[in-house]
């Protein structure tokens, strides 16, 4: 019956495996960031006709293996990886995303690592000061993210067209096509379930009865928004796996792409 004297706030009384989720996410994000950095500067094995890696889309420099818009937009003076022009946009969108903020504040900053678990730091200012006040630009990162959804969709359409021996193109479906399609669906769900999108399309209004379209859009996005975190993780994984598949095909590690060409 002896009492144990200890200030409660400094103690973790949780009995469950509270560290598992932040630890797993920390590993996932670290793997993705390292993988992205490596493939982003690799400048090879990102195209295996007709598949283009999402890391390199849109491919806009003169040294591209495949021009998304038919012609290069950046001239021959650029001799580094084309992905460097693109990667900042999805990176900024995800880095300022409300879901990812929650995830990395927990996993890396430990503020807090889990609910009812003490903060790692003695002082805390949240998002009131630089650099975290910059999270408020999130809605501006959403617009390029929407453009990327359309561009990746265009890549998927191209991925249904396979080159023929006569030099033309034939309709077909390959494993790479399906991976790219799944990837763009997941990225689309992630992008259009965004909290800023939900706000911009209707959430900013107090009165819906004079704005039926805004109300419908807000209602639809609200449904998607409930799974925003799941879409965030699944689309992250799908981007990595799609690139990996195309990369391994291009490198010859995977000997052939299962496909049906009509």
């Amino acid at each position: 019956m002896a009492a144990t004297a200890a200030p409660l706030r400094q103690r973790v009384l949780r009995r469950d495996i509270w560290w598992l989720e932040p630890a797993a996410l920390a590993v996932l994000f670290a793997v993705f960031v390292v993988y992205s950095a490596v493939v982003g500067v690799a400048n090879e094995h990102y195209y295996y006709g007709p598949y283009l890696s999402p890391f390199y889309s849109p491919c806009i420099t003169a040294n591209c293996a495949h021009f998304t818009f038919g012609v290069p937009i950046i001239g021959e003076w650029w001799n580094l990886a084309p992905a460097i022009w693109i990667v900042a946009f999805p990176l900024a969108f995800r880095a300022t995303c409300y879901y990812y903020r929650k995830a990395y504040y927990r996993s890396y900053f430990w503020s807090p690592a889990a609910c009812s678990v003490p903060d790692a730091r003695a002082k805390y200012g949240g998002e009131t000061k630089f650099p975290f006040v910059m999270q408020n630009i999130h809605r501006y990162t959403w617009y390029p993210a929407v453009a990327l959804v359309f561009i990746l969709s265009y890549d998927v359409i191209l991925a249904f067209r396979f080159p023929t021996a006569s030099g033309g193109a034939a309709f077909g479906i390959g494993l790479g096509t399906l991976l790219m399609l799944a990837n763009v669906v997941l990225i689309g769900l992630y992008t259009f379930s965004c909290h800023a999108c939900r706000y911009l399309f209707g959430g900013r209004h107090d009165r819906f009865h004079t704005r039926p379209l805004a109300y419908r859009l807000w209602s639809l996005i609200s449904v998607l928004n409930g799974r925003h975190g799941q879409y965030a993780i699944l689309s992250l994984i799908s981007v990595g796996l799609t690139d990996l598949y195309i990369r391994l095909l291009s490198m010859g590690v995977i000997p052939f792409d299962p496909r049906i060409v009509f």
Binding site: R9, R14, R106, R207, T210
Partner: protein, 274 residues
């Protein structure tokens, strides 16, 4: 019934470690074994501890139905209502740890002083409805009411306040930060179709919305399943962005000679909306 250490005349025993004391420095956990019955909730166990082992154990409770929000505590380290937590839902074969809410000063044992919340509540301006329409009524529409009605489910158990690390781990932030419960209240009023009081600057400057780093613990612990983060805090953050951080909105205000709304300034009338 969860199997616990030993038995007592057919009833199983349950072992609880209850935090006892009148201040955090000298208080600590005391272990009790009491007989438990099937279907018991943790609050029942506290009653049994009071009846059989420690009649001076202080526990705050009222409805025992999950609606008054009085019996908030930390059960095995997680904020929960004692009256809504079945003993059978907790891990078997180990003591149940019951502690007072960590964010608030202890009065005695499991009873905390939650007056911080009442002081914060006083700083939120009351509902200020639009003028009556020509027919002497006010109208609002179901689709508008649905959104704010979610926020009315709050039972003020203050578990979201308790779990919020901004004040739980940083006492110094209590002055500048009001906590999730009051962002729910602010959202309820701010999004109300008939309210005319602007609370955006108030939310940012006086209630410290920027301190929130949306780690969603408030949502996790809410016994009413209010989507505090997604439906109250983040929409408020987006409104603050429009008012204070959006360069296009800022340019528009400059271009058209508008200025940011000031604390408590009445929202401009929008007759077409009424």
């Amino acid at each position: 019934m969860t199997a616990r250490s030993g038995s007592n005349g057919g009833a199983r025993d349950v072992t609880v470690r209850v935090w006892r004391g009148e201040d955090r420095a000298s208080g600590g956990f005391v272990q009790y074994d009491v007989p438990a019955d099937p279907g018991m909730v943790v609050l029942d166990v506290m009653f049994r501890v009071q009846a059989l082992r420690a009649p001076d154990l202080a526990v705050r409770w009222n409805c025992k139905a999950g609606k008054c929000g009085s019996c908030s505590a930390e059960i095995n380290g997680r904020p929960k209502l004692m009256c809504m937590t079945r003993v059978s839902s907790l891990p078997e074969g180990e003591p149940i740890t019951i502690a007072p809410m960590a964010t608030f000063p202890v009065i005695k044992d499991l009873v905390t002083d939650v007056s911080y919340n009442y002081e914060k509540a006083k700083t939120i301006p009351a509902f200020r409805p639009a003028p009556l329409e020509p027919d002497g009524t006010r109208r609002m529409y179901q689709e508008e009411v649905d959104r704010v009605q979610e926020f009315r489910k709050c039972i003020e158990c203050f578990m979201c306040q308790n779990v919020c690390h901004v004040i739980r781990d940083h006492e110094e932030n209590k002055e500048a930060f009001s906590g999730p419960r009051f962002f729910v209240r602010l959202a309820e009023l701010e999004m109300h179709p008939l309210d005319t009081h602007d609370r955006i600057e108030l939310t940012r400057a006086k209630h410290g919305l920027g301190f929130c780093n949306i780690t969603k613990c408030c949502t996790e612990v809410c016994p009413e399943s209010i989507h505090i983060t997604d439906n109250a805090i983040i929409p408020l953050k987006e409104r603050v962005v429009t008012e204070f951080y959006d360069p296009l909105a800022w340019a528009k205000r400059r271009l058209f000679g508008q200025r940011p709304r000031q604390l408590g300034e009445k929202e401009p009338a929008a007759p077409s909306d009424r």
